[in-house]
Homo-oligomer: 220 residues x 2
C-alpha cells in the first residue's frame, strides 16, 4: 500500500533532520575528542559516518521517487530539490568531521601546542549554524536563514585568528610546525562546515522565496 | 513558442558543458598565474567567476523548469537531477579556483620558496579528471567515470608529497613558513577540485546505472 503524499513529504523531512542531527553530533564529538584527548571517541565518529552514508543514499532515493511518481507542485518540488541539495551538504559535513578526526588522531599523540580555545569556539558556532539552518528548513523560516548566514563571518574571523596565532608559534619554535599545521587544518575543516551550513540556508531561501540568493549580498 | 523537449535536454547539457569549460579554464589560469607569477592573469579568473555564477543559477532554473513542466521519464529525470548535482560541483570548483588566486596573490609578492613542480602536476591531473568527468556525463560513459575516479589517488599522493616537502622547508628555515603554508593550501584546493570531479563521476554512474556507488568501492 502506498503511503499518502503528505506522509512521504514528512518522511523526507524527518530523514533529512535525522541526518542533520547525526552530522552535528559527529562534528561535536570530533572536536570534543580533540579537546579531551580521548582516542575512544574517534571511533564513535567513524561509526556514525556509516549511518550518514546510508541516509545520504536513502534521501536521494526518497526524493527522486517522489519527483518521478508524484508530479509535485512547484512548491513541493522546490522543497524536494532543497532536501536533495541539503542532503549533499550534510554528507560533506560528515566528511569534514572525519577529516577532523584524522587530524586529531595525530594531534593527541603529541603534546598540545597551545590551549585550543578558538577551535572549540569555532566548532560551537558552526554547530549552532547547522542547527539553525535545519530549523530554517523545517520552518521555512527565511529570516532565520539570513541571520544564520551572517554568522559565517565570525567563523572566518576565528579561522584567521587561529592561523595568525599558530604562525607565530611556528616561527618561534620549528618543533611546533607539524602540530600547528594539523590544528590549522582542523580550523579549515570547521570553516567548511560553517560554509555548508550557509549553503543550506541559501537553499532554504530559494525554496521559500523561489529566489536565488546564492550569488548576491543579503538585503541590508 | 515552447522549445521541443529534446532541444531543452540539449540546451541543459550544453549549458553544463559551458560551465564545466569555464571552471576548468579558471583552474588552469589560476595555477598558470602562480607559476608564471603574472598578476594580470588573476583578474581574468575573477572575471570568469561572474559568468560561472550566472550559469550556476541558469542551470538550476532550466532543470527545475523541465522537472515541473515536462514530467520527465525515469531516465530523463536522472539526467536532469545529475545535471543539477554536477552544477553544484562545478560552482564549487570555481570557488576553489578563486581560493587559489587569493593564495597565489600572496605568493607572487614574495620570493618563491621552491620550484613548484608538483603543484602544476596536481592541477594538470585535476583538470584532466574534470574534462573526463564531463565527457563521461555527455556520453553516459560509466567505464570512463570509473577510470577517472581512480585517478583521484594520484592527486592525493601528490598532495601528501607537497605537504611533506614543504614541512621540511619550514623546519629548516622559519622564514619560509608563511609562504609554505600558502602553497600547502593551494595544494589542498587542487585536491578538492579533484574531489569534485570524482563527485561528478559518481553522479554519472548513478545517472546511467540507477545505482548508487557513492559509498562503496568501485568493482575490481
Amino acid at each position: 500500500m502506498k503511503k499518502r503524499y503528505s506522509e512521504e513529504l514528512n518522511h523526507l523531512k524527518e530523514t533529512v533532520l535525522r541526518m542533520g542531527g547525526l552530522v552535528e553530533k559527529m562534528t561535536h564529538q570530533a572536536v570534543q575528542a580533540l579537546v579531551e584527548r580521548k582516542r575512544e571517541k574517534f571511533s564513535e565518529v567513524t561509526e556514525m559516518e556509516k549511518q550518514v552514508n546510508r541516509l545520504h543514499m536513502d534521501i536521494d532515493e526518497i526524493a527522486l521517487g517522489m519527483i518521478a511518481l508524484r508530479q509535485p507542485t512547484a512548491t513541493d518540488l522546490r522543497f524536494i530539490t532543497a532536501a536533495m541539495k541539503i542532503n549533499t551538504d550534510l554528507e560533506r559535513i560528515g566528511d569534514q568531521a572525519i577529516n577532523i578526526v584524522e587530524q586529531a588522531e595525530k594531534l593527541v599523540s603529541v603534546p598540545p601546542v597551545k590551549p585550543l580555545i578558538d577551535i572549540p569556539r569555532m566548532a560551537e558556532i558552526a554547530e549552532e549554524m547547522l542547527k539553525a539552518a535545519l530549523d530554517a528548513f523545517v520552518q521555512g523560516n527565511v529570516e532565520l536563514a539570513y541571520r544564520t548566514i551572517e554568522r559565517d563571518d565570525a567563523v572566518d574571523q576565528l579561522k584567521d585568528q587561529v592561523f595568525r596565532e599558530l604562525l607565530t608559534f611556528m616561527m618561534a619554535d620549528a618543533s611546533t610546525i607539524a602540530r600547528s599545521m594539523d590544528l590549522i587544518l582542523v580550523s579549515r575543516h570547521l570553516e567548511r562546515i560553517a560554509d555548508h551550513a550557509t549553503n543550506i540556508c541559501e537553499d532554504v531561501i530559494f525554496m521559500v522565496k523561489g529566489k536565488d540568493v546564492r550569488h548576491q549580498d543579503p538585503p541590508g
